[in-house]
Symmetry: C2
Subunit: 405 residues, 2 copies
């Protein structure tokens, strides 16, 4: 389907590279104005221009920023605010009424977890008023405010989350525009022969996302799935919408048991040995992890020496560092080990639960190619393995070939 054939109410989201300079902003403004002139109702969500966020973080570090996320959030939020005002001006220059709204003005009420706030609700009153007046509404992505008016940011994938949450609340479809063509079976930077998927289910996408596909954050897909919002992911200003990937409840063509392979970089193994198996230590450790706001996956327990147990879990390098820095050995009673240099590989597909032999194909393929794997976990639609970093490319290539991805 081509864009011109649509007649919808849509949320369009443009990432930083799509609005990196004045010419790009003008091109997007023209596109949005054309949509509006065709009678579509459009809400646009935009990120900060190009490298703005990184530049602001660099400035903050230069003045001695240590850990005041409240100030950093207020600083970073200016990036999106600048983009949306410029975009609104550029849309008006195309003869279409437009208005920009900050996260606060757009009604994004969040928790007070600075730097990784959660959206509690969206009060659409103000936004709806402007839509009713026939305006294109341009909303600053990545940001919201607490009930007290403190500016917050939503953390990784924040602007995507803004767009999807808004689409969910409005009941509209959501188009996420970026600088890639769509979702691939494998990250093309890791495996250049990877194929682009015309569609993918929410569940598969969530697995791909949470397992490191790097295209959409899990939380966005979660929201889309929860409210059954059709997501589209594709290249900005590409008029042919068959070139991107649709993310939806059920795939249109369910031809492949395996949808793709995703890679989560910078993985660390954390291990505590020979602990008393009475739950006390584990309780304390889990409290620490929760306090640090870390979601760990793949926790396992093995028998240790003399009735004691070993306890292993995986997380990314940054999180592992956070744990190590906040882990007081005296308080917890046992030393914690950290081993770096891993990646987590996941084979994803709704066919996994219905096609037998997939796990064994994976393990055989790796073994035949001399690739060592550490931890295996599986869900209804995925099989994940931890492997050493240097085996990454090889493992992806042999598995992609084995499953014809």
């Amino acid at each position: 389907m081509f864009r011109k054939e649509r007649k919808e109410m849509i949320v369009e989201k443009y990432g930083g590279t799509s609005v990196a300079d004045v010419d790009k902003i003008k091109a997007i403004a023209k596109h949005v104005a054309d949509l509006k002139k065709c009678g579509e109702n459009v809400v646009v969500v935009a990120s900060a221009m190009g490298k703005t966020t990184n530049k602001l973080i660099a400035l903050a570090k230069e003045v001695g920023y240590a850990k005041n996320d409240r100030e950093l959030d207020s600083l970073l939020s200016t990036g999106e605010q600048q983009t949306v005002t410029l975009l609104a001006m550029a849309i008006e220059a195309q003869g279409v009424p437009a208005i920009s709204l900050t996260g606060y003005q757009a009604g994004f009420i969040t928790s007070n977890h600075h730097a990784h706030a959660r959206i509690k609700d969206i009060d659409l009153t103000n936004l709806q008023k402007h839509l009713n007046e026939g305006k294109v509404v341009v909303v600053a992505g990545f940001q919201g405010a607490t009930e007290n008016g403190e500016i917050t940011t939503l953390g990784r994938g924040g602007s995507d989350t803004t767009a999807v949450a808004l689409a969910a609340k409005l009941g509209w479809n959501c188009y996420i525009y970026t600088d890639v063509d769509g979702v691939y079976t494998v990250d093309p930077r890791v495996y250049p022969k990877a194929k682009k998927l015309p569609s993918i289910t929410y569940k598969e996408m969530m697995q791909m996302a949470s397992l490191g596909s790097g295209v959409l954050e899990t939380r966005c897909v979660e929201i889309a799935s929860k409210y059954n919002i059709q997501l589209y992911l594709g290249r900005a200003l590409e008029e042919d919408l068959s070139k991107g990937t649709y993310i939806m409840e059920h795939k249109q063509i369910e031809d492949m048991p395996i949808t793709g392979i995703s890679v989560k970089e910078d993985y660390a193994i954390m291990r505590v040995r020979n602990i008393d198996n009475n739950g006390e230590y584990i309780g304390k450790l889990f409290k620490l992890i929760a306090d640090l706001n870390i979601n760990i996956d793949t926790i396992s327990q093995q028998e240790g020496e003399a009735g004691k147990v070993n306890f292993t879990f995986y997380c990314n390098t940054t999180q592992s560092e956070l744990i190590v820095n906040n882990y007081d050995e005296k308080k917890y009673g046992y030393p914690i080990e950290r081993i770096l240099g891993f990646v987590k590989l996941s084979v994803v597909g709704v066919g996994i639960s219905t096609h037998s032999g997939i796990a064994s194909t994976i393990l055989n393929t790796l073994t035949q190619n001399g690739i060592r794997y550490y931890q295996i976990t599986s869900s209804e639609i995925s099989v994940s393995l931890t492997i050493e970093k240097h085996d990454k490319e090889k493992a992806v290539a042999v598995l992609a070939e084995a499953f014809d991805l």
Copy 2:
């Protein structure tokens, strides 16, 4: 008096050049942290860094900004927001707790005149809470918000107005830091031999400001005068406070009848000839001028031909353009003339009302030097004349010599 000897509650305002780069921000942060460590209560008001505002305006023009001041206000407000977050981080890096507040967060409730909003009130609840917690509060200058949460800016001299209004509301003294040493008898760029004033009264300063001295906007001095807030104007980070100028109700040393000469550049004469003298036209013209939010000064009426009247007023070039662009000759019935290329010169001093002969000294001095003057107006503390632009330097020099400035 040296700063170290003070023990006060103060509002300090830093302009764009004082916070132009990271090193300057850090230097100011150290100074503010030192004040706080000495037990002073400090609220800091800051402008956007260096040329940020101009750069944002340039970006807006590039994307096709025409007249949407609502969007421009939201865009420009990010400049100050960035400065204050960085400054708060830098103060915290000095070991002193600090928090930044946007205009909205600091409680600045304004009219909805975008680009030149007026402060209606300041709700100090939030700011006071942070002060009570022992923090340095860093407030974004130049901005506020309407009751509906729309971001506004205060127009020319906006950050100074923020600082003085805050000082007035808190009942504190206000230090305005800039890149000049203080208030001079004449703008040193026009007359290099000008002398710096140790103090000046509110009334004199208002005349100097409204008549183009370019150091402080009239509205700031108005507020200071209304609430009797002592203002200090001087160079940022200069520790010796005897080097700047104090602005207060009464001068400490009242030795000179004339305080200074101020120059208002880019003046235009607007004239309508031979109108019926029944008030109808004037009423309509005044309504237009009010709608355009222009304050004109020096209006005069002369006899025209056959019982009709001529009508002349003065305003700056930009305002004159605005009037011409919005003046519909058909609707008003008379053509309006505009003559460019003037400046307004004002001789200011509380001595004018008590020392006779000052007006005649001015006029004689100009005539003897072959300088033609057009319109003369006088107030209790000033005499103003419109002269041709090319006579500016000469007129300032001969008058400064005549009054030993």
